[in-house]
């Protein structure tokens, strides 16, 4: 809400600078976006009287003028405009002046004649249309008023003001008006607020009913409708002061009748509408719901298809305007308008909002209605408009009014406790002090003992409870006086939740191993899921769908972390970064029954590429991550189709599948713009992971007896997996086998074709004795028998 300070000062005395005033308003809760001079984009322009105007000796279109700009001697100025003439008062940009676009005026010679300045047109000064008569036309601007040469042009055009752009909070629609802000300012500054006395002279002929018939059919959607008729209308420009105010408030002046409606809207907060009565069929205005399928062309030339949920203003035949949103083309005020019906009404905010959203039409008026317009002072706003008609003498107010008004509601006073309010807002004010503050805000308040009885004015619909009163008291007492205290009461233990602790541990572990945490959006493109090549029935292909996404690429909640990870890997790869170790910990989402919240499953995703990186590096990282949690993990061949068929594995712990890992299939990689580099991905289900976490490990005593080492080289078929062989060795050796490790795999001349020799080192130890040679031999025999029978492996001779 842009407020010209001059306009505001008509109603409240503001003794400080606009900036100081704005700061005071901010600290009392009225936000300020900016404080700007209305000023226009020029400087150093004054009024000049053209004394002489002669043709340029060397040009067929230039004029040489002498111009009195209030100085001792007149200036010589060369001017190219055809309409310049002696006797005119014109705007003169003096040497040193700046014009819009940063143009600087310098002394110069035009075809041999010295020119000290420039006579300006409206467009050259950047003056907006409607601000001044003929302002938009080519040729120099002739100043109509009788002003002394040398007067500041800004003053002449009404630009010598400062506008404060307020940011009004959602609960204060009353402050979307000059009057509302005047009231608020007077309370904040503790200054008097003087509203105009509204007197209308009904100087027209006949009565309202002679001119118009109004019928409000839906009083629920239109709780108040006030109307007046103006006859003998003379359309013309509104006076300078009104144009200047409108311009400074950011509204384009149009003509006197339209300007009055806009002026009243800004001043009182009530959107108004003016109908050209002669264009309203049968002079009848009906406020009703639209008929199903009814169409309407609004002022902006757009055609709308309406539904019965929408409220329209109609004449005897059809809808002519969207109630409270935009008028129709047909009854627009034009030069030839002779009789006008002023409408000042209140429409249901929710209905107005829904209609405006449904049709995609948002206007100043609809914005105001959906935030809430006061029902009670509607008539006052209409009367203010008529008073302005009297003032501007642009028509005659016809006696009689139309007012469709609800039963006046008995306003309920709010009760508040002085002590409770003081406790809540950390103040120590007396009941009288609170009473004084509230009364400044037009809240009629009396204090009796501890009890405040407060009756807010009709425009303060936001004040409903004691807490609201507390806020008003706190606001005007000053938020800067809030003390800084510490909570008392019971001491509470602060701690992180279980999931948070687990996620912190996982992240710390990954970071320690040299991985980088990434964050991706939780929604992705459904096409990304399709690129994974999952089977048709895979539940990951049925994601939770966002009904109103920003775009297709963020339209479903991810069911897999893999696409986002591949995209992140791709970003880094394609930016020439030669190694990436990324991880992301976030939920994936799976739909539940209709109306239920989806399942959110925490998932860890690892993504890896670089030189010297292979499947085993990724697998070891997973094992390293899981080990500190007491989880022993096995890998078995298998996994989704987006992995390399020969380089993928499931992660199994205690017989449960907790994730999968592998090299990404080259086809899938290509889908994500990954080429020329192998990338590896692992996925871990954190929910399963969490279940498997072992309690705090208990310490084992350190061994007292020595360990005995044995090497064992086994020849086995090429396709035999080593993992299960190790499992067999462990099982066969029993608990005296302390550890078994792999130290070599040999393929070549020394072993037969399609075979490999796998060498292990075994370490034996007993807790209670030194193992004898005989014992170890017995164990080794068992191991050999077992690997032979299970895997067909023999000792290498």
């Amino acid at each position: 809400m842009k407020v010209p300070m001059k306009w505001l000062k008509e109603y409240v005395d503001i003794k400080m600078s606009a900036q100081e005033y704005a700061d005071r308003m901010v600290m009392s809760g009225t936000g300020v976006e900016s404080v700007d001079e209305v000023g226009g984009d020029f400087d150093g322009v004054v009024a000049g009287k053209v004394l002489t105007c002669d043709a340029h000796p060397d040009s067929d279109h230039l004029h040489v003028c002498t111009v009195d700009v209030g100085g001792e001697t007149p200036l010589t100025i060369v001017c190219g405009a055809p309409n310049v003439a002696a006797g005119q008062t014109v705007p003169v940009a003096l040497v040193g002046a700046t014009l819009p676009g940063g143009i600087k005026i310098k002394k110069g010679k035009l075809r041999g004649v010295e020119s000290s300045g420039m006579i300006c047109s409206g467009p050259e000064l950047g003056l907006p249309q409607g601000l001044y008569p003929h302002v938009g036309e080519e040729g120099i601007l002739v100043i109509a008023e009788n002003v002394a040469p040398g007067s500041d042009a800004k003053e002449i055009f009404g630009l010598d003001d400062v506008a404060v752009d307020f940011e009004i909070l959602a609960n204060r629609p009353d402050c979307l008006s000059i009057w509302g802000l005047a009231r608020e300012s007077s309370a904040v500054l503790e200054e008097h607020c003087l509203m105009p006395e509204i007197v209308v002279e009904e100087n027209g002929t006949g009565t309202f009913l002679d001119y118009a018939h109004v019928e409000v059919r839906d009083k629920e959607l239109c709780p108040r409708y006030c109307a007046r008729v103006i006859e003998g209308v003379k359309i013309g420009p509104s006076p300078k002061w009104m144009r200047a105010y409108l311009h400074a408030a950011g509204v384009r002046p149009i003509n006197n009748i339209v300007d009055i409606t806009n002026y009243v809207m800004l001043e009182t907060g009530h959107p108004m509408h003016a109908f050209d009565l002669d264009k309203v069929r049968d002079h009848t205005i009906v406020v009703r719901r639209a008929e199903q399928g009814e169409t309407l062309k609004t002022l902006d030339g757009k055609e709308h298809l309406l539904t019965t949920d929408m409220l329209v203003i109609a004449d005897s035949k059809s809808a002519t305007g969207l109630a409270g949103i935009m008028g129709g083309e047909e009854s627009e005020i034009l030069e030839d308008t002779r009789a006008v019906l002023f409408e000042c009404a209140v429409f249901d905010r929710t209905n107005n909002r829904l209609t405006s959203r449904a049709l995609g039409v948002r206007t100043e008026a609809s914005g105001r209605f959906e935030r809430g317009v006061c029902v009670e002072d509607t008539m006052e706003a209409l009367e203010r408009a008529c008073m302005l008609v009297n003032m501007l003498e642009c028509g005659k107010v016809v006696p009689g009014i139309f007012d469709s008004c609800p039963e006046p509601k008995e306003r309920e006073p709010i009760l508040g406790s002085v002590e409770r309010i003081n406790r809540l807002i950390s103040t120590n004010l007396s009941g009288e002090q609170m009473e004084d503050i509230l009364c400044r805000l037009y809240i009629e308040t009396t204090c009796c003992g501890d009890t405040l009885t407060a009756l807010p004015p009709p425009w303060r619909g936001d004040i409903e409870t004691e807490a609201d009163l507390a806020e008003e008291v706190l606001r005007l007492n000053g938020y800067e006086h809030i003390p800084s205290t510490l909570m008392h009461g019971v001491t509470m233990a602060g701690f992180r939740g279980q999931r948070q602790v687990l996620s912190d541990r996982i992240k710390d572990c990954m970071v320690g191993m040299g991985w980088f945490e990434i964050m991706n959006f939780s929604f992705i493109s459904p096409r990304w899921l399709e690129k994974l090549g999952l089977e048709a029935m895979d539940k990951r292909l049925c994601p939770v769908v966002v009904r109103n996404p920003l775009g297709e690429d963020t339209s479903v909640m991810r069911t897999s972390m893999v696409p986002s990870m591949l995209s992140s890997l791709s970003v880094n790869l394609n930016r020439g970064i030669n190694e990436g170790k990324l991880f992301e910990l976030a939920p994936v989402f799976f739909p539940e029954e209709e109306g239920e919240l989806p399942e959110e499953r925490q998932t860890l995703c690892l993504g890896l590429y670089g030189d010297d990186i292979d499947f085993y590096g990724l697998r070891d990282a997973c094992a390293c991550l899981l080990n500190p949690f007491g989880i022993e993990v096995d890998t078995v061949s298998g996994g989704d189709a987006y992995y390399h068929p020969g380089r993928k594995a499931l992660l199994i712990a205690e017989g449960k599948r907790i994730g999968q890992l592998g090299e990404i299939h080259p086809d899938t990689a290509e889908e994500f713009d990954i080429e020329g580099k192998r990338v590896y991905v692992a996925e871990l289900d954190i929910v399963e992971f969490g279940v498997l976490i072992k309690p705090i490990p208990q310490v084992k005593t350190l061994p007292k007896y020595p360990a005995v080492a044995r090497d064992l080289a086994l020849v086995m078929r090429e396709e035999t997996s080593v993992g299960p062989v190790i499992a067999t060795i462990r099982k066969a050796a029993g608990k005296v086998l302390e550890d078994v490790g792999l130290f070599d795999i040999y393929r070549g001349a020394q072993v037969e074709a399609n075979s490999k020799s796998v060498a292990f080192n075994l370490s034996f130890r007993a807790v209670d004795r030194t193992l004898t040679e005989a014992e170890i031999s017995r164990v080794m025999d068992k191991v050999l028998k077992a690997v032979e029978s299970v895997h067909g492996a023999r000792i290498r001779s």
Binding site: S28, A470, A493, E517, L597, P598
Partner: protein, 340 residues
């Protein structure tokens, strides 16, 4: 024999002073003192010495042996030191050679900031509570005094799944869930991801993070809110940073306050970051609206409370001077490595 002994002693002493390494020393020792050595050979001649001269000669032999042995030992120590020094000198390496980059990774800057926040708030007795990101309209809006079609909902452009399920627009629904299931005293913080239908640009993201706090107990005042946030500001930015409360409006709090912190970039003097005001707008807060308490089944006559919330991205951007919000979700390692 005496001459022989004196001779050998002086010769060995001369040779020792010329010896340069422990190998040569050992050779000399064997040559003199070894089983077949010169000194040992002299000793063998002891038998031929007359008995009356033997004690004196024996004493002399012992003296010479001691002198020889200590001279050799001395040389060994001297040479050992020289050799160790030489070895150490020779083993010197170029300590400025660049290393292989086996380093720690890093947390995402958002996680780092969130971690710090959780440390601060758990230290003040707040429990960390989380909730679903896809949430019922009921918890996200209605229980927070934002009924359907309320214009204030416009401020939080919402992604809908269906009429009653949304992507949560703030972490406040977690507070609503706690208020409807627990009895006061309540002291929680709720961090998490939230969603608003904002197009991606330098200062907006449709996915971002918030942390909100809620305290409900008997006699909680707005001073307690300020005290809590002052403590938070001091811990996060240092004792020079203070809070400034400005009146504001949120449907779920009454009174409400927008909270600014002293601009840490210019210590409140006014700079580009704070648009010359010396203050940075960081938090929304207020006293829990009694309507919200009642809707959640808490007696608003007995209990009062405060709530606050802030965007974690904003804190991270301010703290690390991140020029563009998109950096946070692009996952470019050149950015992420700066947080190692």
């Amino acid at each position: 024999m005496r001459e022989q002994l004196e001779n050998i002693l002086s010769r060995v002493q001369a040779e020792l002073s010329a010896i340069q390494d422990t190998g040569a020393l050992e050779q000399l020792r064997v040559k003199v003192m070894g089983k077949k050595g010169e000194f040992t050979a002299i000793l063998r001649g002891m038998g031929q010495i007359p008995a009356d001269q033997r004690p004196a000669m024996g004493q002399m032999v012992n003296e010479v042996r001691n002198k020889l042995e200590s001279a050799i030992e001395e040389a060994r120590i001297r040479l050992g030191l020289i050799e160790k020094e030489a070895r150490l000198k020779q083993e010197a390496i170029d300590v400025t050679l660049p290393g292989t980059s086996r380093c720690r990774g890093s947390l995402h800057p958002m996680s780092i900031v969130l971690d710090d926040l959780l440390d601060i708030f758990t230290g003040m007795g707040f429990e960390v509570v989380e909730g679903p990101e896809v949430e019922y309209d009921h918890y996200n809006f209605e229980l927070l005094n934002l009924p359907k079609h309320h214009p204030a909902r416009d401020a939080q452009d919402t992604f809908y799944i269906d009429d009653n399920i949304v992507l949560r627009t703030h972490t406040s629904p977690v507070q609503a869930r706690i208020m409807t299931t627990r009895k006061p005293p309540i002291r929680i913080v709720c961090p998490g991801r939230v969603y608003r239908a904002d197009e991606v640009d330098a200062t907006h993201s449709p996915v971002f993070h918030q942390i909100e706090g809620l305290v409900i107990d008997e006699d909680i005042s707005i001073g307690d809110l300020k005290g809590t946030l002052d403590t938070f500001a001091h811990r996060l930015y240092g004792p020079g940073v203070t809070t400034r409360f400005r009146p504001s409006f949120f449907p779920f709090t009454e009174p409400s306050a927008e909270v600014d912190l002293t601009c840490a970039n210019c210590d409140g003097a006014g700079c580009k970051m704070c648009k010359g005001t010396g203050w940075i707008e960081v938090l929304g807060s207020g006293m829990v609206n009694p309507k919200v308490l009642e809707m959640c089944g808490i007696d608003s006559k007995k209990y009062t409370g405060f709530a606050f919330g802030m965007g974690i991205e904003r804190l991270a951007i301010l703290r690390y001077n991140i020029p563009d919000m998109r950096y946070l979700y692009e996952n470019d390692l050149r950015f992420l490595k700066q947080f190692r």
